[in-house]
Amino acid sequence: MSGIARLPARPRVRAAGLLVLADGTTFEGETIGHRAPGGAPTTGEVVFNTVLTGYQEVITDPSYAGQVICFTCPHIGNYGVAPDDDESRRPFCRGVIVRELSERPSNWRAAESLDDFLDRHRVPGLAGVDTRRLTRHIRTAGAMPCAFGAVEGEGALDPADIAAAAREAPGTEGVDLVAEVTTSAPYRYEPANGAGPEGGAQGLSVVAYDFGIKRNILRHLSAMAAVEVVPASTPAAEVLARRPDGVFLSNGPGDPAAVAGAAGTVAALLGEVPVFGICLGHQLLGAALGGRTYKLKFGHHGGNHPVRRMADGAVEITSQNHNYALADGTVPGADVTHVNLNDGVVEGIACRDAPAFGVQYHPEAGPGPHDARYLFERFRSLMTGAR
C-alpha cells in the first residue's frame, strides 16, 4: 500500500506570515512547520537551493546551520519524509521558505508529512512566498540575513519587529557554526542496514572529522573502511594516534576561516596520512596548504552544477552546497583538479607532495547526481597505496 493510507490529509490552519530581508525587502506568505507560541521572529541567512528532488536531504544537511532555505522548486513535501533519507540526526537549518507545501504526501516510503516533520523538529517556515522573486533578489543583492514570522493569529508579530530582527540578524561571516553541529564525542559509524563495511575485509580504517557530516558520506566511507567519527576540535595527534589508513574532512556550515584551529589541525595531518575533504573539508584542506577562502555572492546550492574534471575534460553534474570557496591561484602546492563550468569557481584540488585531495561539491550526492562517486574509490586507492 502506498503511503497515503498511513498519511491522511491533515490540513492545518495557516496564519499570514511575513518575511523581511536585511535590506528591508518584504515577502508575503503563510506559516508552516513549527510555530513557537508567542515566539520571536526566526532569523538566519537566506539562501536559495535549486534542487528538484531531495528537500529532506537538504533540510537535514548540517551545512545549512544558521541558514533559512528557500526552495526554488515550487512544490515541496510531495513525497513526504522517510527516516532513511535524513542526512543527520535533525535539521540544523533555521527555517524553510517554499511556494507550495504539500499537505498529502504520496510515496510508499513516506513516514510523515514534511509539515509534521518540521513541526516535530521545531523548524518554522513560510509557504505561499513568491520564491522566484526572492531568488532573483538574492541573485542580485547576495545572500543576506532575514527574519520571518506570523503576522496574524495568536502570538502575531509586528512587521516592524520582524524587520528590525532582520536588520540585526548576524550573517555567517566569522561565525563558527561548526561548533553547533559537530558530534560531542567520537563514535564508530555503523551502517543502518547492519551490513559490515566491505572495507573491513581489507582492514581499512578511516577517521572522519565531523564538521557537520552527512550520513551519505558515512555510508560511502563505511562501504570501504571502518569509520570512526570525531568532533571537529579533535587534535591531529589524537587522530594519528588511532593509526587510521585515511582521514576524512567533512562538509559543514559557514565560514571556513571561523572554524577554530581546523586549518592547523589539517596541516598537521598532511603527509602523515591520506586525506580527503568534501566541501568545508576541501576548504580547510586548501587553507591548510596556505590557500585563501572567500564568500560567494549567493553560493552554489543545487544539484545541477557542471564541473570539469581537468584530468580528462569530462563533465560531472554535481550536487553543491556552499557559500564559501577557495580563491583560484591561492593554494601553493596544490593543483586545481576540478572547475565549475558556470562561473569558474575552484571545485577540487589535489596536493602535489602529499596524498591529499578535496572537492568543493558533494560526490556522496544525497541529494543529487551520482556522477562523482568515483572520488571515494580514489580515496580508497590512496589509502591502500599508502600502506
Partner: protein, 1118 residues
C-alpha cells in the same frame, strides 16, 4: 571536441505528414536542426513530403525535396546529392525507419553516406523488443517479464513462469483485437485461447501487466565524450495503461524522492550507453510500482521525440538544436546555453514552475469509435501550460485545449455526470477517457475520498489531492457568491489555483469582463515570469514568459514597435501545422521589417513556441483573458502596434471582436463578422451579384425542413461557427434531414468544439452535385491592390471537405474564362470586405467542366453541358490551410507577404523590397493530398465526406498532373499499383462516370473485379470484368472483403451514396484500409489515379528540389 570538418553536406529526413503519434513536434525539431546545421556552414539537404511544415520553407535548407518519403525516393535523392552524412534522429520514427532501410539495402555504404546521431546497431537494439530486453537485463535493469507462445500449452507455461496479472497481446493484429488482461489462470485460459485464435500466425505475447504503475520519462542527452545529462523528468498523471501521448503529463516529476529519481537517472544513463546512442537525445520510459518502489524500464527512443519537444518547451533547453550540434561533433560543454548566454549546455535544467501537457482528441469525428484510452495513441494534438503550481498549470492547460472548458469545471458541462450515482461515477472514472479529469473533480466535489479514487483509477494521491484543492476552492468561491465579496487574498488564492475569470463568471452568474474588472480593481493581476533553465540562478537573456499570480513581473521594456501574433493553439483536425507555419512566417517577416514580434501560443509541438522564433514568447492559452493579460503587460513595457488574429486559424479569429477596438491589425473585426455571419454574407453576395447555392438558416427541425423543401435535395447541413466541417452532412431527403438535425441538437460532441452553443443556427444549403470545388488564396492591401496567390482545383468534387480533398495547382480542368470569373469574384469580395491581409474564398463550379476519364480534354461523361456556373461557397478573411502549399507550389512567400500587409505594407512596397517575387507558374504541377487517420481507427469508415477528418497533408510535384498525383499518393502511403486487379463498386449515380476510367485501366493492362451491379454496367458498356463478387456475407461465391484479404486486389474504387457503416461499402473500405491497399472513394480520385498510373508507367519517380522548381521561368505578376 570541435565540429567535424570531414563532413560537408548532411541529409536531414523529416517525418512526413502529420499523423496521430507523429505531429509537428518533428517540424520543430527538424527546423531547429536545419537552422543549426546551416549556421554551422554545412550544406543541408532536406527531404520531407509535408508542405505545411516550416522546415520545408526553401530558406531552411540548401536543397529542399518535397518528395514522397520512400526508400526509393530517398535513394534517388542520395544518389543525386551524395551527402556525406544522413541525420535520421530528428524526423521521428519515419526517418529512423527509412534510415535503417537505406542502411540495410546498402544505399548508404554505396553512396559513402554516414549515419550520424545514432548508429544502425543502436537503432536496432532500441527498436527490437527482444534485443532491447536482453540489453537491459544485461546491465542489470528490470524490464517487464514476457514471453511468446504459439500453443495453449506454451501459453500456460509462460503464464506460470511470469505470474499474474498478465497482459496478452496477439501478434499481427490491428486495433488491439484479442488483447486482454488476465488476473488469474481462469481468466488467462479464455484470453490466451481467444488471442491465439485471433492472431493470423497463432502467436501471442504474454507480458507481466504493470497497468496501474506510475509512469515516468526521462529526456537524456549524451555527447561523444560520453557526458550525459538529464534534461527533464516527466511524470504521467494517468498511470501505466494509457499511451503517454494520450496521458496528461507533468514536468518535472512530482512524486519521486531523490533516492528514486537518482536511481532512475543512473538507469537512464546506463541504458543510453548500452544501447549505444553516441550523440543526441533519447527518451527513456520507466514504470514504478507505487506499493514497493520497484522500477522497470519500458522502452527507449534513440531519437528526439514528442516528449523531447515537450521537454524543450518545458525547460527552455532546445534538445533538437543541441542534438544537431552534438551529431556534428561538438560536446555539451562546448555549447553555450542560449538562455543564460553565460553557462554551458552541459548541465541539467532546474525549473521553478510546473508544466502540464494535455492531449486533445477528435473522437467526435469518428462516430462509433469509443473514446476509451489505451496503449495506442489516439489524440491529434496537445496543449501545454505553465503555472507555478500543478493546479494552476492544469487549469490553464484545460482552457488551452479550446474544448469549451476554462478549467476543471465551473461551466455548464460540469453537470454532465449528474445522472450517475457515486458508484457509477467512480466506475466511469476508472476507465481512462478524455472526461476523466472532470469525472474525478465531480467525484471529489461530491465528497468521494481521494483514497477511493486512487484505488479505482491508479491516479497518484498527490495529483488527486491537487484536484481536491481546486474543488475545495470552488466551494469557497461559490460561497463567497460574487465578485463584490472577494477580498484581495481571495482573488489571489483563486487565481493561484488557476481559476479563469470565465469560470468565476459562470459560478457567480456574472460577465467575464466584470469579473476581470473587479479583480484588477482589487489589485490582483497576472504577473509574467520567465522560463530560464536555471530557476533564476542566472540572468535569462531570452524573454520566454508565462503568466502566474505572484508579486512581480519580469518583462523588460523595449523601444521597437511591437506586433502581437496570436497562434492557433493545440493541433486538431481542421487546424494544424499550416497555421503555425503562417504565424512563424509572420514573425520572421515582421522581425526582418523592424518590428518586435510577440508570440502567444500554447502548443508545445510547434515552431511558434520555440523561444528563437519571435522576439518574445508567451506560452499561454489563446483565450481572451490570457491574451488580454499579454496585451496589458506588453502595452505597459512598450508600444504595441496591434494584434494579428488572422494567421492562426479560427482560434485567434474568434477573439477579434473581444479585443480593444483598434488593436486588431489587418481586416477589421466587423469585416470578419460580415464574412462569418450567414445573413450579412448572403446579402453581400447578392449585392455583388455573385451566385451562391440556394440556402437558409434554421433553429429547429421544422424550420430546417422548410428551408430544405425550398432549396431542394440533396442539401448540405452544418452548424454555424465551426471548424473543419464539424458535423457537416449532405442529406438526401426529409428523413435524412430530421436525423441530422436531431444529432446536431444533442449536445455532447458539438458542445466540445470551441464552446459552440446549441442555440447557434444551422445552415442549410442546396448541395451542388458533381461540382468542381475551387479554393483561392489571395492577399489584398490597404490600397486595394490584390495578389492572387493561387487558384486551386480540388480533385474530389464538392461534398468532400476541402481539407480532405486532393487539390491541384495550376487547375487542371478549369478554362481560362472560369478562372478569370473566379479571380474577379475574389477581388470583388475582398474589396467589399475591405480585406487588409489574407483571404481564402471557396467556390463550386458546376457544369461544362473538363474532367476527363484519364485522358485530359475528354468531356465529362454524363455531365450537363453548357457554360460553367461559378458559385461562391464561403470566404474567410484569414490565412487558410492551403497557404503553405501555395507558397511551395509557386515560390511566393504568401504568409510573409500577408503578415507585412497586415502590418501596413503595400504589395507595391513588398515588390520593391524583393519580398514579393513573381510566382512560378509553369513547368510543373503541384498536388496536395490529405492524410487520414484510419489506421488508428480501424473500425471507422474511410469514406470521405463533408466533415474533415484528415490530420495532415503531403505534396507531390512533378511535370504532369498524373505524376504529381501519383507522388502525392505515394507520399500519403498509398502507392498506386503498376499492375494487378482493381476492384470496383460504384454507386448508381457514379456508374456512367466510372466507365471510362475502368476502360482506361483495362487499356493499361489491369484486370477488373466488381460487384454484380457494377459488373453488369461495365460489361454492358464493353468493359471486360474478370471477377464478379458476391455481396458481403452472401453464401455463394467469394465476397469483396475476402477478395481483398486474399491479396488479389491492388486497388479499390468504391463510391457509395450517403454515409454510415450500414452498407457493404463500409466493410470493403475497412478491409482495404486494413490491408493498406489504395482505396478511392470518388470517381474523380479514381480518374486522377489512373492518370498517375498512366503517366508513371514502370519508371521510378524523378526527384527535384523546391529551389530548382522555384528558379525556373518566372512570369510577370498580373
Amino acid at each position: 571536441m570541435p565540429r567535424r570538418d570531414d563532413l560537408k553536406s548532411i541529409l536531414v529526413i523529416g517525418s512526413g505528414p502529420i499523423v496521430i503519434g507523429q505531429a509537428c513536434e518533428f517540424d520543430y525539431s527538424g527546423t531547429q536542426a536545419c537552422r543549426v546545421l546551416g549556421a554551422e556552414g554545412y550544406r543541408v539537404i532536406l527531404a520531407n513530403s509535408n508542405p505545411a511544415t516550416i522546415m520545408t520553407d526553401p530558406d531552411f535548407a540548401d536543397r529542399t525535396y518535397v518528395e514522397p518519403l520512400t526508400v526509393e525516393v530517398l535513394t534517388a535523392i542520395i544518389e543525386r546529392e551524395s551527402p556525406d552524412a544522413v541525420l535520421p534522429t530528428l524526423g521521428g520514427q519515419t526517418a529512423l525507419n527509412l534510415a535503417m532501410q537505406l542502411h540495410e539495402r546498402g544505399v548508404l555504404r554505396r553512396c559513402g553516406t554516414e549515419m550520424i546521431g545514432a548508429s544502425a546497431t543502436a537503432i536496432a537494439t532500441a527498436e527490437n523488443r527482444e534485443r532491447f530486453k536482453d540489453a537491459m537485463t544485461g546491465i542489470g535493469l528490470a524490464v517487464p517479464d514476457s514471453g511468446f507462445a504459439h500453443t495453449f500449452g506454451e501459453a500456460v507455461g509462460v503464464a506460470e513462469r511470469i505470474g499474474f496479472p498478465l497482459i496478452v497481446r496477439p501478434s499481427y493484429i490491428l486495433g488491439g483485437a484479442g488483447t486482454g488482461i488476465a488476473t488469474d489462470m481462469a481468466s488467462f485460459t479464455d484470453i490466451a485461447a481467444g488471442g491465439l485464435d485471433a492472431s493470423p500466425v497463432s502467436e501471442i505475447l504474454i507480458e507481466r501487466s504493470i497497468a496501474g504503475w506510475k509512469e515516468y520519462e526521462l529526456e537524456v542527452m549524451r555527447d561523444r565524450a560520453d557526458n550525459c545529462v538529464v534534461i527533464c523528468s516527466i511524470e504521467n498523471f494517468d498511470p501505466m495503461g494509457v499511451h503517454t501521448g494520450d496521458s496528461i503529463t507533468v514536468a518535472p516529476a512530482q512524486t519521486l524522492s531523490d533516492v528514486e529519481f537518482q536511481q532512475m537517472r543512473d538507469a537512464a544513463f546506463a541504458c543510453i550507453r548500452r544501447i549505444g546512442v553516441e550523440t543526441g537525445g533519447s527518451n527513456i520510459q520507466f514504470a514504478i510500482d507505487p506499493a514497493s518502489g520497484e522500477m522497470v524500464v519500458i522502452e527507449m527512443n534513440p531519437r528526439v521525440s514528442r516528449s523531447s519537444a515537450l521537454a524543450s518547451k518545458a525547460t527552455g533547453f532546445p534538445i533538437a538544436k543541441i542534438a544537431a550540434r552534438l551529431a556534428v561533433g561538438y560536446t555539451l560543454d562546448e555549447i553555450v546555453n542560449d538562455i543564460t548566454r553565460a553557462t554551458p549546455a552541459s548541465f541539467e535544467p532546474a525549473i521553478d514552475y510546473v508544466v502540464t501537457k494535455l492531449p486533445r482528441w477528435a473522437f467526435e469525428k469518428f462516430p462509433g469509435i469509443p473514446d476509451v484510452l489505451g496503449t495506442r495513441m489516439q489524440s491529434v494534438g496537445e496543449a501545454m501550460a505553465i503555472g507555478r503550481t500543478f493546479a494552476e498549470s492544469l487549469q490553464k492547460g484545460l482552457r488551452s485545449l479550446e474544448t469549451g472548458r476554462f478549467g476543471l469545471g465551473c461551466d455548464p458541462a460540469e453537470s454532465s455526470f449528474d445522472a450517475w450515482s457515486d458508484d457509477e461515477l467512480v466506475r466511469h472514472a476508472a476507465v481512462a477517457t478524455p472526461d476523466r479529469p472532470f469525472q474525478l473533480a465531480a467525484a471529489l466535489l461530491r465528497g468521494v475520498s481521494v483514497e477511493r479514487l486512487h484505488r479505482a483509477t491508479g491516479v497518484d494521491p498527490w495529483f488527486l489531492d491537487q484536484l481536491e484543492r481546486i474543488v475545495d476552492e470552488r466551494g469557497h468561491l461559490a460561497s463567497i457568491g460574487s465578485a463584490a465579496g472577494m477580498r484581495r487574498a481571495d482573488w489571489r488564492r483563486a487565481k493561484r489555483l488557476g481559476f479563469a475569470d470565465a469560470q468565476l463568471a459562470w459560478l457567480w452568474n456574472a460577465a467575464e469582463e466584470e469579473v476581470r474588472a473587479a479583480r484588477l480593481a482589487a489589485g490582483v493581476r497576472a504577473t509574467m515570469k520567465t522560463v530560464d533553465t536555471c530557476a533564476a540562478e542566472f540572468e535569462a537573456r531570452t524573454p520566454y514568459h508565462y503568466s502566474t499570480y505572484e508579486d512581480t513581473d519580469e518583462v523588460s521594456d523595449s523601444d521597437r514597435p511591437k506586433v502581437i501574433i496570436l497562434g492557433s493553439g493545440p493541433n486538431r483536425i481542421g487546424q494544424g501545422v499550416e497555421f503555425d507555419y503562417c504565424c512563424v512566417q509572420a514573425s520572421f517577416a515582421l522581425r526582418a521589417a523592424g518590428f518586435e514580434t510577440v508570440m502567444v501560443n500554447c502548443n508545445p509541438e510547434t515552431v511558434s513556441t520555440d523561444y528563437d522564433t519571435s522576439d518574445r514568447l508567451y506560452f499561454e492559452p489563446v483565450t481572451w483573458e490570457d491574451v488580454a493579460n499579454v496585451i496589458d503587460v506588453e502595452s505597459a513595457t512598450g508600444d504595441v502596434v496591434g494584434v494579428i488574429v488572422s494567421l492562426g486559424g479560427q482560434t485567434p479569429l474568434k477573439l477579434a471582436g473581444l479585443l480593444r477596438s483598434g488593436l486588431v491589425l489587418g481586416t477589421s473585426p466587423d469585416s470578419i463578422d460580415l464574412a462569418e455571419d450567414r445573413e450579412r454574407w448572403s446579402a453581400l453576395c447578392d449585392r455583388l451579384g455573385i451566385p451562391q447555392p440556394a440556402g437558409g438558416m434554421a433553429l429547429s427541425a421544422e424550420a430546417a425542413a422548410a428551408v430544405a423543401d425550398r432549396v431542394g435535395y440533396p442539401a448540405l447541413v452544418r452548424p454555424s461557427y465551426v471548424l473543419g466541417g464539424r458535423a457537416m452532412e449532405i442529406v438526401y431527403d426529409g428523413a435524412d434531414l430530421r436525423r441530422a438535425m436531431k444529432e446536431m441538437a444533442a449536445s455532447g460532441s458539438l458542445g466540445r468544439e470551441g464552446g459552440l452553443a446549441a442555440q447557434r443556427p444551422v445552415l442549410i444549403d442546396r448541395f451542388l452535385e458533381d461540382a468542381v470545388e475551387v479554393d483561392v488564396d489571395a492577399v489584398r492591401d490597404a490600397t486595394g491592390a490584390m495578389l492572387i496567390g493561387a487558384v486551386m482545383e480540388h480533385v474530389e468534387e464538392a461534398g468532400v471537405h476541402s481539407g480532405d480533398s486532393a487539390c491541384v495547382i495550376p487547375p487542371p480542368t478549369l478554362d481560362a474564362e472560369t478562372i478569370a470569373t473566379i479571380e474577379g469574384h475574389t477581388r470583388a469580395i475582398a474589396d467589399a470586405l475591405d480585406v487588409r491581409g489574407p483571404i481564402n474564398v471557396q467556390y463550386a463550379v458546376q457544369g461544362g467542366g473538363q474532367r476527363s476519364g484519364g485522358e485530359r480534354g475528354d468531356p465529362v461523361v454524363g455531365s450537363a453541358g453548357g457554360a460553367p456556373r461559378v458559385f461562391v461557397i464561403e470566404a474567410n478573411p484569414r490565412a487558410s490551410r492551403t497557404v503553405p502549399f501555395v507558397s511551395k507550389a509557386t515560390g511566393v512567400p504568401l504568409a510573409k507577404v500577408a503578415a507585412r500587409v497586415i502590418a501596413g505594407a503595400t504589395l507595391d512596397e513588398l515588390r520593391a523590397e524583393g519580398l514579393l517575387r513573381p510566382p512560378v507558374a509553369g513547368g510543373h504541377v503541384s498536388v496536395k493530398e490529405a492524410v487520414l487517420p484510419f489506421s488508428r481507427f480501424p473500425d471507422a469508415d474511410t469514406l470521405l465526406g463533408p466533415e474533415m477528418r484528415s490530420t495532415g497533408e503531403v505534396m507531390g510535384i512533378d511535370a504532369s498532373f498524373g505524376l504529381a498525383f501519383a507522388k502525392s499518393q505515394a507520399a500519403a502511403g498509398d502507392e498506386l499499383p503498376g499492375a494487378g486487379t482493381v476492384f470496383w463498386s460504384l454507386a448508381d449515380r457514379d456508374k456512367d462516370a466510372g466507365l471510362r476510367v475502368a476502360m482506361r485501366l483495362v487499356q493499361l493492362g489491369f484486370s477488373i473485379a466488381a460487384t454484380s451491379g457494377t459488373a453488369a454496367h461495365l460489361r454492358a458498356a464493353g468493359v471486360p470484368v474478370e471477377t464478379v463478387v458476391a455481396k458481403v456475407g452472401e453464401e455463394s461465391g467469394v465476397d469483396a472483403v475476402e477478395l481483398i484479404r486474399s491479396g488479389q486486389v491492388s486497388m479499390v474504387v468504391n463510391t457509395p451514396r450517403g454515409r454510415g457503416p450500414r452498407a457493404d461499402g463500409a466493410h470493403i473500405r475497412r478491409a482495404a484500409s486494413a490491408h493498406r491497399i489504395a482505396c478511392l472513394t470518388t470517381v474523380a480520385a479514381a480518374r486522377a489515379a489512373v492518370a498517375g498510373i498512366a503517366d508513371r508507367g514502370d519508371r521510378p519517380f524523378a526527384v527535384r528540389s523546391l529551389q530548382e522548381y522555384h528558379a525556373v521561368e518566372q512570369l510577370p505578376l498580373a
